[in-house]
Amino acid sequence: MTSQVAATLQKPWLDQAENPFVRIHRVTKKFGDFIAVHDVSIDIYKGELFCLLGGSGCGKSTLLRMLAGFEEPSGGRIEIDGQDMAGFAPYDRPTNMMFQSYALFPHMSVERNVAYGLLREGVSRAEARDRTAEMLKMVQLERFAGRKPHQLSGGQRQRVALARSLVKRPKLLLLDEPLGALDKKLREETQFELIRIQESLGVTFIIVTHDQEEAMTLASRIGVMNDGEIVQVGEPVEIYEYPKSRFVADFVGSVNILEGRVTEDEANFIRLGCPDIGAEIHVGHGFSCTLNQTLWYAIRPEKIRLTRERPEGRHNNAKGVVEEVAYLGNLSIYRVRLDSGRVIRATKANLSRHEDGAITWDDPVWVSWDDTAGVVLSA
């Protein structure tokens, strides 16, 4: 029972009684004939770190700009902390935004940049100075208070932008591709920095990103967007392991998608006839479907085994030839062409530095997987 309470505390979206902090209700945005955001509804809870994930032009930034007040929705409602935001200008909203370009004021010093929002709020100069100093300390930029933005490195600018958007203690912080302009190593460090700051301040974050790894690392929950619509909302594990559609499975991570027809439909298993692998796929759980219905089976490359010998059992395996091997250091990616002509991707962790008799180019191999390794998709 206690653990149940703890779980809902950490995962408020599971608690029916909890009121969402940000309620996006059937929001649509049109630019002329173009529909940028179509009928999107999401509830986001206090203290969440919510990621909007999608390719470019999917409407995620437009949605963020509607939360900040730079765009008015063409239809639907946005509530923040129980208040309808319609008609509220950006300067009257309890939100702050961190811009993709950082949008630092080029003619002001770091200190004045950070203090700007406080002074607009009517905070006294002395208090603004203290709070600015405190904020700069948190992002470790005390030494740079007098610098102009163009005298800073990319990572430092990013931290100024973060400090500036947090100093007003907004109820909701909106971050537009916050790590997009940083190089890979700095990005990884900053991700954990963001999580630390978010947890210590307890601010609700909404982050827009196109980088699925970033979303997986940062998010409490992810909302995947495509063509202006939300296609799935869920925790990172859910999105990765239980995608609801081929789009999500394919967009988040790498996946093999096999098409098949239902040949057996039982309470605790189903079977799919799959010409692509020249065998049947055995799925170890029930799925509501009808005989002969076309379904898709999505299986991640790391869940596929490669063996030289034929595995046991009649299902979930196929024979082929290794067509390509890509060595990535920590793992290797294999492209296996099955006898049917279909190519399957499989990965293998490189557990030792050198392996005798390792599978390589042109080797005949068997691919196989467990009956719980993949996901059945109807869309």
């Binding site: 007040g69 730079f70 765009e71 008015e72 200008a89 950006p90 009517g122």
Partner: protein
């Protein structure tokens, strides 16, 4: 974008004082900001043309101002005296037609010459390494900041029969009798190319400096010789600059007055000079107005339409 709302306490005081009374009249700050430039340009740019059009339709007469009223208002009805005589006069006298043709021809030739000189200069500047590039660009702009009139005057000193060029040529024994250069069409071309050359170079430079070096290298790599690269890659990509530069020389040159007046001869009849003469020497305001209206319709309007079309094409 959210609309500009009535500013509150944090707005500058000036704004509060002006906006508050106007807001009571139903004008938002936004509308007010739009209206200021719109009204200024309406009154001092657009309406003047209507006045010119009106006067071009009235009879000249010796009076102050020297034209007849366009109509009479007898308290009951308005009688309009529309007089197209001024336009008929322009058609009758070949002087005007010749002046229009000559102006366009002169402007075209000068712009073409300026392009031929300006393009290599712009190219060279755009390809120069950084400190030199800024310096050369500055050298191109610098003459513009000194008086235009004085620079044309300097050419008078160069071109006259006892001027710098003739003195030099005679002193070195190349010629015996001075060349006649001042008061010729040649001098007018020279003057226009000289004064408008910076306007040709700047837009050309602006497009050429943005030209990616790797495109030229790619062209060379694919087997194009420098001349082929120029015609297939450089020139097509710099066309916006070519067109902009050509227009910046051609359009103002058509209506040029100072250069034909100071460097040209009595038969250099450019339309700007003719209009000036009608107005200041003949004091024939209605004919001068008619000349202006024809110039506007024949020359300026087509170029404005062209410019708009180009701007729209670029926006897409």
């Amino acid at each position: 974008m959210p609309r500009a709302q009535a500013p509150g306490m944090s707005a500058p005081a000036l704004w509060r004082w002006t906006a508050a009374p106007l807001a009571r009249l139903g004008l938002s700050g936004r509308t007010l900001v739009i209206l200021v430039p719109v009204i200024w340009l309406l009154v001092f740019f657009l309406i003047p043309f209507l006045v010119v059009a009106k006067i071009s339709l009235s009879e000249p007469m010796i009076a102050q101002p020297p034209y007849a009223p366009l109509g009479t208002w007898d308290g009951l009805r308005l009688t309009l005296d529309l007089n197209f005589g001024n336009y008929a006069f322009l058609l009758d006298d070949p002087l005007y037609l010749n002046a229009y043709v000559f102006s366009i021809q002169t402007a075209f030739v000068s712009a073409a010459l300026a392009l031929l000189i300006g393009y290599p200069m712009a190219w060279y500047i755009a390809r120069s390494p950084e400190p030199r590039r800024t310096l050369l660009l500055l050298l191109v702009i610098l003459p513009f900041w000194t008086s235009f009139l004085l620079r044309v005057y300097a050419w008078q000193g160069f071109l006259r029969s006892n001027g710098v060029i003739n003195n030099f040529l005679i002193a070195t024994g190349i010629i015996d009798t001075p060349l006649v250069m001042l008061q010729t069409n040649f001098a007018v071309y020279l003057g226009i190319v000289y004064t408008y050359l910076p306007f040709m170079i700047l837009p050309l430079y602006a497009t050429l400096v943005k030209l990616d070096d790797s495109l030229l290298e790619a062209s060379a790599d694919l087997g194009a010789r420098p001349v082929a690269t120029f015609f297939h890659v450089t020139l097509p990509l710099s066309m916006p600059g070519v067109i902009a530069g050509f227009m910046l020389v051609f359009v103002p040159a058509i209506g040029e007055f100072v250069i034909p007046e100071l460097l040209g001869g009595p038969n250099t009849l450019m339309i700007g000079k003719v209009l000036w003469g009608e107005f200041f020497s003949n004091r024939d305001w209605p004919v001068a107005s008619a000349v202006a209206i024809v110039m506007l319709v024949v020359v300026v309007v087509p170029f404005m339409l062209l410019r708009n079309a180009q701007a729209r094409a670029e926006a897409e």
